[in-house]
Amino acid sequence: MIDFGFWLPVALGGLLSGGSSGLLGVYVVGMRIPFLAVCVAHAALAGAIFGALAGLAAEHLTLPALTAAILTALALGRVADRSPAGDANVALGVLFSLSMGLAFLGLGLFPVLGRSDHDVRALLWGSLALCRWRDVGYMAVVAVALGLFVLLFGKELRALLFSREYAAAAGVRVGLVWALFLVLAAIALTVNFQTVGGLMIYSLVTNPAVAAALLVRGHARVIFVSVGLGAGVSLGGFLVAALTDLPTGATIVLLSSAWVGAAALWQRRRVRCRAS
């Protein structure tokens, strides 16, 4: 007998997390900054660790995590186009190593200060099975905010996808839209990361968007397919895991990876068919 009271928020959490990550992924993959998810997730972790060290209770660690994630995202926006290589990935590499260093320093301070690091270690991996209605509420707010952002700034985001400098030259308010995107991405990644964990959020941001870009063409179509795949693999992975007793996170990650493989094969076949 399935306990719906327990599993319904888990399923809905997976659906919302997958859908919003799929939407975010269209831009993260399109701008070739998939490392953003890892970088921001680890900055959020560092924030949560120092929040815990400062004595905050587990239920209040979201605030320092969000603060650290947003600051990191804004720092990326500030330095991305000014880094020596003029490449956001270089800035991400620097910020990632900094946030990792801070996170491990913080973790090392727990035994020194004689404190338990149980709350923050749970954050490191996350667990979809522990998703409760309050988490679902946060995820829903983030998903709606992301959707509204794309609806309002869709044409500017499309220009940013192509090239930030070209978009700026065409008179698009790149600074404003890029900063808003990074802040929203930081919030979305932090909220989802706390429930589903760093590895799963990385795969949910990257894989559905890559598969969508291989399957269809055009901004709007890629968004629909990526959101659908993100939500689908989350829910599908959860159901497979529930039926087979396999770990939920790993099942979802593998399912999303399988979609990328299938999409790549399909695209290859399409190219061959066109050529012949």
């Binding site: 044409k155 978009a167 065409a170 291989l214 890629v222």
Partner: protein
């Protein structure tokens, strides 16, 4: 009407190197000005600085009546909406989901303004430019999957779709075969005749200068070394000094070319 583009006492440096040092440059309304020079002469830097994409260390650049070096972000964006720009190269990557039509539509994105989607009239304008440049059959293809020539024409269409008052072109025919290059030159000529659009055309090859180009600015090491009629600026001595003693400039019918000296001497007068 004031000159659409004026640069005064502009200095741009990178480390110890001076990239651009221009005392005075004015592009008059309705003219087509060619900017030439060897690699590292500062041609691209001049265009990027004119759009406020490259910070200047000193001087002022007046773009359509406003000093772009001192504008805030909103004012700068408004000015850029009135300019059509074709950058050197934008090839796109394999996972870029944008179609050719969507890329051309970027040209009218800024002008549409925030919180306002592109309307049917904008898309009609996009389609009209695609048709004009012979790109309609590829409009739903991925931009990244197009050939270099098609991509260059798409960027030119994007630059024109916003109905600009000034066109800044950075090597619009770079890496194109002869047929594609001539197609671009013909298009530029037609546009200039039709619309009298003020155009700054940066190029390496003299062959890219359309017959409508009546003025050439020659840059070397960031400085203007000559400015005037193409045939005067691109004299035999200057071409030999800039590009090597074995080369000669040939001028005929308003078009120009640099050829090996042996060919220039063998050609009938």
């Amino acid at each position: 009407m004031s000159a659409p583009l004026t640069a005064s006492n502009v200095r741009i440096t990178a480390g110890d190197r001076t990239l651009l040092s221009i005392d005075r440059l004015t592009v008059e309304n309705g003219t087509l000005v060619g900017v030439l020079g060897p690699n590292g002469a500062g041609k691209t830097t001049l265009l990027r600085a004119s759009l406020g994409l490259r910070p200047v260390q000193a001087g002022r650049i007046e773009l359509l009546g406003a000093d772009i070096t001192r504008c805030g972000p909103a004012e700068r964006a408004r000015l850029r909406c009135r300019v059509g720009y074709v950058p050197q190269a934008l090839v796109g990557h394999g996972l870029l989901p944008l179609t050719l039509r969507e890329v051309v539509a970027i040209g009218c994105t800024g002008r549409a303004g925030l919180f306002r989607p592109l309307v049917a009239a904008d898309w009609r304008s996009v389609d009209a430019w695609l048709e004009r440049f012979g790109l309609t059959p590829y409009r739903d293809e991925l931009y990244a999957h197009l050939s270099g020539g098609e991509q260059r024409r798409a960027l030119l269409a994007a630059a024109l779709v916003g109905n600009p008052e000034l066109l800044l072109l950075d090597e619009p025919a770079a890496h194109l075969d002869l047929a594609a290059r001539e197609q671009i030159v013909t298009l530029l000529s037609e546009l200039h005749v039709e619309r009298g659009l003020t155009t700054v055309l940066v190029c390496h090859e003299l062959e890219v200068l359309p017959a409508a180009c009546e003025r050439v600015v020659l840059l070397a090491e960031g400085r203007i070394i000559a400015d005037g009629l193409p045939a005067t600026v691109l004299s035999g001595e200057r071409v030999a000094a800039l590009y090597g003693p074995g080369l000669r400039a040939v001028h005929a019918g308003g078009r120009h070319a640099v050829v090996p000296a042996v060919l220039a001497e063998a050609a009938p007068p």
